[in-house]
Symmetry: C2
Subunit: 330 residues, 2 copies
């Protein structure tokens, strides 16, 4: 029997903390059977009311402080040493946990990864890698927001880390890497992307070439590489547009279909479709390039989103993603 | 009675040229009644078969050459002096037409605007301004792709031009200007956007502050300002996601609703909704900042999209948008 994997959850991070985080933790434990142990890191007085009886495989670690969503990432991580986020990351650094998960301030989670767990040797810039649903299944986009300003060399590093991650997690050999850009031709792009294209072509990655905005929902490439500014805007845009279209359609159905046979049935199948297209179900976003497993969940994470992030973190530990990156980057 | 407005159409530009362009021209004439005159610029041997009898208010201008979609913008505009695009732009420069419309190579259309019609005095970088549908109506995003690399000062210029344009075209006083960014707080963004935020705050524009990817489909601000790289990716992404979601829903309805009462009815109301959300129906994208009216239509424009671009061009002429920008930029 394999050893239990321990995941520390920042119980206080996120818009619906601690309740949804705790429900998510319990959902993850139910799904993982007996191979997972969770440490809920946070204010125990606020955590306990949400736990009926002390369930198996859940530990509590008390911390008094919290980093809020709008606090300065680096300053708050340096100052708030007894915050749930900093303590969760420190547990990974000191081997008390195998991974940590947080739905808190993304910038602070990234800063905690960088300052506490630190970078893998040879990595210049860790990146946030996010799965998003496509018509073919899903793709991985990185950087989703850790680095607002990038050099072309960083984009190549993201491509390498993304390839290794996806290979480990999905078994796919040589996943295809697309460079997000404003045209298919290699002559398209701004200075950063023109140079990145040139560099990517010289690697031994499975470089697909440029992919455009409209290619993302189609799943043209397994991996989409971009700077963190563009990636963050693209992800939020995909969520927003999908959300808006669903709402408009629901309105249309309710309006023109009221009382008609099958309206309820149709709305329920739309709901299923929407669930499939919801990024929440794709397991959180690992911060790749740090010397440990850290997974960022959406600030408005539901229990299911938290559970999926925890399970993705456990899987990354089990499949030794960090070792994989470390060995191939050398 | 007002004088007729003359719009030169690059009949050979775009994926479905010349047929769809010609049908679009005729559609525009039907809608504009007797106030519009159109010059179809292109190879008359290829244009004539699509015109049944010479309709009123359509003139032909023969050109022998065409700039293809993948040609180098500046080089092709300089070399192909008898191309439909260059001749159409030249007609505006020389006062033979009041505006030109092209569904051809966007880079080349921009280059033609810059090199032939030239910039308005005081404008550093013309920008492509595109209307996109939102849940509230529509917003204007610029730059949609004319400038892949920008300085913060350019973004401020885009904000000014967009405000003047929207004020002229919609009558809205002091339209709100949002800066596309990765967070609402002024501390968010990359170096370019941090600086642009600072500069925009000091203008007398109605600056809303930062808007995120998820705000775009909601219509949080009337105008969205960004560099041309980000804007182009955002627009193509919005189109792509909306398209994909509609296709998935259609599949779902057809699958689970086959033969059921009302399926046809529902599919037809979805079609109407999709039409409303289709950017094609929002009238092409003016190249703001050049000393004349030039409107860029989508490469895959339908006749309706061409007609709307022509009508938007005529409206910009009638409402003296170029004079408006010129006076307020001084």
């Amino acid at each position: 029997m394999p050893e239990k994997i321990t995941v520390a959850i920042d119980a206080m991070g996120g818009d619906h903390a601690p309740q949804q985080n705790i429900h998510g933790a319990m959902q993850a434990l139910r799904k993982a059977k007996d191979n997972l142990r969770i440490i809920l890191v946070g204010n125990v007085d606020k955590i306990r009311p949400h736990i009926n009886d002390q369930p198996k495989n859940i530990l509590l670690k008390h911390t008094s402080d919290v980093i809020r969503m709008n606090e300065h990432p680096v300053r708050s991580v340096k100052k708030k040493t007894d915050s749930s986020l900093v303590v969760a990351a420190t547990m990974v650094k000191e081997g008390e946990a195998d991974a940590f998960v947080s739905a808190g301030n993304t910038g602070a989670v990234t800063a905690a990864g960088l300052l506490i767990i630190k970078r893998i040797k040879g990595i210049d810039r860790p990146a946030i890698a996010t799965m998003f649903p496509t018509r073919r299944g899903f793709s991985l986009i990185l950087d989703a927001g850790a680095n607002a300003d990038c050099r072309a060399e960083n984009l190549v590093e993201f491509a390498k880390m993304g390839s290794i991650y996806l290979h480990h997690m999905s078994g796919k050999n040589k996943p295809s890497v697309g460079l997000l850009n404003i045209g298919e031709e290699s002559s398209k792009g701004n200075m950063l992307y023109l140079r990145a294209h040139e560099l990517l072509r010289k690697t031994d990655l499975n470089f697909y070439g440029n992919v455009e905005g409209r290619d993302l929902p189609l799943g043209t490439s397994d991996i989409v590489v971009c700077d963190g500014f563009t990636g963050n805007i693209a992800l939020k845009l995909m969520e927003g547009v999908s959300d808006s279209v669903f709402k408009e359609i629901k309105k249309e159905i309710s309006k023109s279909f009221r009382g008609r046979l099958g309206a309820t049935f149709l709305l329920s199948s739309l709901k299923k479709l929407r669930k499939r297209l919801n990024p929440e179900n794709y397991g959180g976003s690992p911060l790749l390039g740090i010397d440990g497993v850290g997974v960022i969940a959406h600030g408005s994470s539901s229990p299911t989103a938290i559970a999926n992030a925890v399970l993705a973190a456990a899987m990354a530990v089990e499949l030794k993603v960090v070792d994989g990156i470390s060995e191939q980057i050398k």
